[in-house]
């Protein structure tokens, strides 16, 4: 048994960290969201106008909805890529498992920014993809929607977050005892039924964790829309950035942030309860 003094001593640094770098900023943000800007200065005048603006000016809701659509698309795409990949690695990769695993992880070491610029080079009107399409006579002029569009944002974010989706799914699949799969087949289930009734339910916690990663991280992303999104690919984080920056409307920016935070927390709570329902140990 550790003494009380020892316990409080070791728990102090993490508590301080969370307090100073997490709770305090959130509290400041929360308080700001109820203030207002007058004559270019932030006035400590308590009001709900910021929140009212969020729901009355269509631009915010529009961007928020687009952001959620993009985040949902990214989640779906990275699940469609990440799950089969994890499944293949876990069940069929054999001796190549380690190598393939490393290959999935390696892109995580490359800077986010570098990958963003790489997509710019690939997708641009004079980019690699358009060059190839014209060379192969599939198109005659550069295809415009490839870059500076929601499509480009989804593509880039899917590329970035697929490993984050892959990892928890792979971990979940690896912990499924293999005799369960034999038992399922032994009892007459075809491989398809074994997947639906045994593998998929037992990997559900990993799948949910991966989906949550992809959705939440995409929801708050502002670099991808900045680099490849263009005007039609603007996301809510870009709005927050401009409100805090050029517009100098911190109270409104704080209100938008509080909304995103609430949305994220609700989502985390939802998946948390869902994950608990799917774990059986």
């Amino acid at each position: 048994m550790y003494s009380r003094a020892y316990k409080s001593l070791v728990s102090l640094p993490p508590l301080l960290w969370v307090g100073i770098f997490l709770l305090l900023p959130y509290a400041l943000m929360f308080v700001h969201s109820f203030w207002m800007v007058r004559d270019g200065f932030i006035v400590h005048h308590w009001n709900l106008d910021n929140y009212a603006a969020l729901f009355t000016k269509p631009v915010y809701l529009q961007v928020l909805l687009r952001t959620m659509r993009i985040a949902a698309s990214v989640t779906l795409c990275s699940l469609l890529l990440g799950y089969p990949l994890a499944y293949y690695l876990s069940f069929h990769a054999g001796t190549r498992k380690e190598l393939l695993y490393q290959l999935v992880i390696v892109p995580l070491w490359v800077s986010y920014l570098v990958r963003g610029y790489a997509w710019k080079t690939i997708l641009g009107s004079t980019g690699v993809l358009n060059g190839f399409l014209q060379y192969a006579h599939i198109t005659h002029a550069p295809v415009g929607f490839l870059l500076y569009s929601p499509f480009a944002v989804v593509l880039m974010l899917t590329h970035i977050y697929t490993p984050f989706v892959f990892l928890p799914i792979y971990a979940a699949l690896e912990t499924i005892p293999r005799p369960l799969l034999e038992a399922s087949q032994d009892l007459g289930a075809t491989p398809g039924k074994t997947f639906r009734r045994i593998i998929l339910p037992l990997s559900m916690p990993g799948l949910l964790a991966g989906a949550t990663f992809a959705f939440v991280l995409s929801l708050g992303d502002f670099l991808a829309p900045l680099l490849v999104g263009g005007a039609s690919g603007t996301m809510i984080a870009n709005v927050v950035q401009s409100l805090f920056g050029a517009a100098y409307d911190w109270p409104l920016g704080a209100a938008v942030s509080v909304c995103i935070l609430m949305l994220t927390l609700a989502l985390l709570f939802f998946t948390e309860t869902f994950e608990k329902r799917w774990s059986f140990k």
């Binding site: 005892p177 009892l187 009734r197």
Partner: protein, 359 residues
């Protein structure tokens, strides 16, 4: 000559013809040969045990029959149908796994009904059959529980019900009792045996425990290094082991490396008449066929020798003695419980009890 015909005796098993035929099956994993040319038949209604040490190939043979592995050569047939080319989910066999392999995300009831559901049995029938199967193994009160909430013995029963509910022609049991403690094990042994009698299902049971094999089986197939050492009824294999290995593995024995000359076998201080031809020969002499002759009475036809009691181990109903009857000759003797013994005594055995075995 194959070891499977080692003993010419006939074993009467339950009525019915051959259910499963294993024909010259071999299995290699890379360069390692796990099974060498195994042939054996299982009769319908029989309780056959594959007995052997770890690495003897017994579990591999079971997995070949279940379909989790494919034989490198040879064929497996069941009721006139070739089995080894079918995927596991098309074979009319079910398995009770060593660590039960119950589905953790399903209730006991769902686990048992699983096999029926995936084969498209109507929900109502599946439920009632699952209930009946759970009743059979006395687990119906736990139908709604998750496997993680059950003890090892309870999980074992559910695994059994989950396999039996499909009414397989052949039930494969892969060391199903090895994870249970001794008392529960004994109890489950007797329940397994009576269940098998009641249902008339053919059991193929894998174990490394020779006592368990003897208690349960109609016949024992003793495997050694991927080959069949002997296949016979427990009584036959105990009374007339074909090889020195079989004699040692099943029960305890004294192996006598004797020299036969002119109708007499000689091994150290022991000398007894035998019908074997001249030359070196190995005999198996079970500890319980040796008697301790207190006083001077010696039964007619018995061979007597002198031995010094080295050690006496009390076993409740009997005593196990280690006796020295020569400079380098120690024999194990089992006699009914007696008072502590020491010093030199006369021991006797009947020559017919010294069984000639192959090396």
């Amino acid at each position: 000559m194959s070891a499977s015909v080692a003993n010419g005796s006939h074993v009467n098993v339950a009525a019915g013809g051959t259910l499963l035929e294993v024909r010259s099956v071999a299995k290699k994993f890379g360069a390692a040969t796990v099974l060498k040319n195994i042939s054996l038949d299982i009769a319908a209604g029989e309780f056959l045990t594959l007995l052997g040490e770890s690495g003897s190939g017994k579990t591999t043979l079971l997995r070949l029959i279940a379909g989790f592995e494919a034989p490198t050569s040879g064929e497996i047939w069941m009721s006139g149908q070739r089995l080894d080319t079918l995927p596991p989910y098309r074979r009319p066999v079910n398995t009770v796994f060593q660590h039960y392999a119950l589905f953790p995300h399903m209730s006991v009831q769902e686990n048992v009904a699983y096999g029926l559901h995936v084969k498209g049995t109507a929900a109502g029938e599946a439920t009632s059959r699952a209930e009946e199967a759970l009743r059979m193994v006395k687990m119906h009160e736990f139908a709604g529980a998750r496997p993680a909430k059950l003890s090892g013995g309870q999980q074992q029963r559910v695994a059994l019900a989950r396999a039996l509910v499909n009414r397989p022609q052949l039930l494969l049991l892969d060391e199903p009792l090895s994870a249970l403690d001794a008392n529960l094990r004994k109890q489950m042994q007797s329940e397994l045996k009576s269940l098998q009698r009641e249902l008339g299902i053919t059991f193929l049971f894998v174990t490394h425990d020779q006592e368990e094999a003897m208690a349960l089986s109609d016949r024992i197939a003793l495997l050694r290094g991927g080959a069949l050492e002997q296949i016979a009824s427990p009584r036959e294999i105990y009374g007339h082991p074909a090889t020195a290995y079989a004699a040692q593995f099943i029960g305890q024995t004294n192996l006598l490396h004797a020299d036969v000359r002119g109708g007499w076998a000689v091994c150290g201080a022991l000398r007894w008449p035998t019908g074997e031809a001249d030359g070196p020969a190995i005999f198996s002499l079970r500890p319980e066929v040796i008697a301790c002759a207190r006083g001077d009475e010696a039964s007619a036809g018995a061979v007597a020798f002198r031995g010094v009691v080295r050690q006496q181990l009390f076993g409740g109903a009997n005593e196990t003695l280690e006796i020295a009857c020569g400079p380098e000759q120690i024999l194990r003797v089992r006699i009914p419980a007696a008072e502590p013994l020491s010093g030199e005594h006369t021991f006797t055995f009947f020559p017919a009890d010294a069984i000639r075995v192959r090396a």
